[in-house]
C-alpha cells in the first residue's frame, strides 16, 4: 500500500479535484450506459409483446366476425 492515511489518498497531493473529477465522471458514464441499455431492452420487449397481443386479439375479432380474409398484420 502506497498511502499512509485515507485523507492523503483523498487529497492526491493537491490534485484531488482533477483525479477524482476524472474518476467520478468515468464511473458515472460506465454505470449509466448499461442501465440505459437495460431499460431500452425492457421497454422494447414490453412494446413488442403488447403489439403481438394486440395482433392476436384482432385476429380473433376478425374470425368472430366471420370474415373470410385473415388479418393482414
Amino acid at each position: 500500500m502506497y498511502w499512509s492515511s485515507f485523507s492523503e489518498f483523498l487529497a492526491m497531493g493537491n490534485h484531488g479535484v482533477y483525479v477524482w473529477g476524472s474518476v467520478i465522471v468515468m464511473a458515472i458514464a460506465m454505470v449509466v450506459e448499461p442501465l440505459l441499455l437495460i431499460r431500452g431492452q425492457k421497454s422494447l420487449v414490453a412494446r413488442l409483446k403488447r403489439q403481438l397481443r394486440a395482433e392476436s386479439r384482432e385476429k380473433i375479432v376478425d374470425q368472430g366476425a366471420g370474415r373470410s380474409t385473415p388479418f393482414q398484420g
Partner: protein, 249 residues
C-alpha cells in the same frame, strides 16, 4: 468442408447470435469487474507517485485506456461496417451501429480526463494541439455516424450510408496515434509502444494494462447488450423474434 467453419457461420445470423450474445454478456461483465478492481487497486493504491507529475499522473490509468478504446472501437466499428457494406451481412452492420455510442463515450472520456490532466500539468484545459484536435474529430466522427444513421428511416440504407462515413473516417485513427511523432505537440509521446520497451515503471504499466482490459471487456459487454436490442427491433416481424417474445424473454 470442416464442420467448425459451418458452426461459426451459423452465429453470423441474427437469430443465432441473439441468444448467444445474451449468454456471453454476464461473462464479459465479470471479466470487466475483475480487471477493473485489479487495475484500480494497482493504479490508485499500490503504484508509487510519478517524480515529475505528482499524484495527478494517476489520471492516466483512466485516460490512456479510454483513449485506446476510443480509437480501437472506431477501427472495429469501421471493420464491421465495411463488411456489412461489402457482403450485405445484416449482423455486421448492426454490430457497427451498436459500437458507435460506446466509442463516442470513450472519446468523450478521453477528452474529459485529458482536460483534467492538462489543467494541473500544462496549466490549461485545452490546446489546439494535433493530438487533442484529432481526438476531438474522432468524437465528431462518432456523433456524425450516429446522427446520419438515425436520420435515415430505412435501416439498410442507413447501414450503407453510415458504413461509408465510418470507412472514410478511418484515416483519422492513424493521425491520432502518430500525431505525437509527426508533429511537435504539447501532448507527450506514448509511454507504451509495440516496438520498444515501455518507458514507465512496471507497476504503473500493469495498472494501466489491467484498466485497459477492464474497459475492453466493458465495451464488449455493452456493445453486445446494444446489439441485442437492435437485433430484436429490426427482426421483430420474423418468426423467431415472435417466438422469442412469446417464450417469455
Amino acid at each position: 468442408m470442416d464442420k467448425r467453419v459451418i458452426n461459426w457461420f451459423k452465429f453470423a445470423s441474427p437469430q443465432a447470435f441473439y441468444p448467444l450474445a445474451g449468454r456471453m454478456i454476464p461473462w464479459f461483465w465479470a471479466l470487466a469487474a475483475v480487471f477493473g478492481v485489479a487495475g484500480l487497486y494497482i493504479g490508485f493504491l499500490v503504484a508509487p507517485t510519478d517524480a515529475q507529475q505528482g499524484e495527478g499522473y494517476r489520471i492516466i490509468f483512466l485516460h490512456v485506456p479510454a483513449s485506446w478504446l476510443s480509437m480501437f472501437i472506431y477501427l472495429v466499428m469501421a471493420f464491421w461496417a465495411g463488411l456489412g457494406l461489402a457482403f450485405n451481412f445484416r449482423l455486421s452492420a448492426m454490430m457497427a451501429t451498436a459500437l458507435a455510442p460506446t466509442g463516442a463515450l470513450f472519446a468523450f472520456l478521453s477528452l474529459w480526463t485529458g482536460a483534467l490532466w492538462g489543467k494541473p500539468m500544462w496549466g490549461t484545459w485545452w490546446v489546439w494541439d494535433a493530438r487533442l484536435t484529432s481526438e476531438l474529430i474522432l468524437l465528431f466522427l462518432y456523433v456524425g455516424f450516429i446522427a446520419l444513421q438515425s436520420a435515415i428511416d430505412d435501416p439498410r440504407r442507413a447501414d450503407r450510408a453510415g458504413a461509408i462515413l465510418a470507412l472514410v473516417g478511418v484515416v483519422n485513427v492513424p493521425i491520432i496515434y502518430f500525431s505525437v511523432k509527426w508533429w511537435n505537440t504539447l501532448h507527450q509521446g506514448s509511454s507504451v509502444s509495440l516496438t520498444r520497451s515501455p518507458s514507465m515503471a512496471t507497476t504503473m504499466l500493469w495498472g494501466m494494462l489491467l484498466c485497459a482490459m477492464a474497459c475492453w471487456m466493458y465495451a464488449i459487454a455493452v456493445a453486445l447488450m446494444r446489439v441485442r436490442t437492435i437485433i430484436l427491433e429490426r427482426e421483430r416481424h420474423t418468426d423467431w423474434a415472435r417466438a422469442e417474445l412469446s417464450s417469455g424473454e
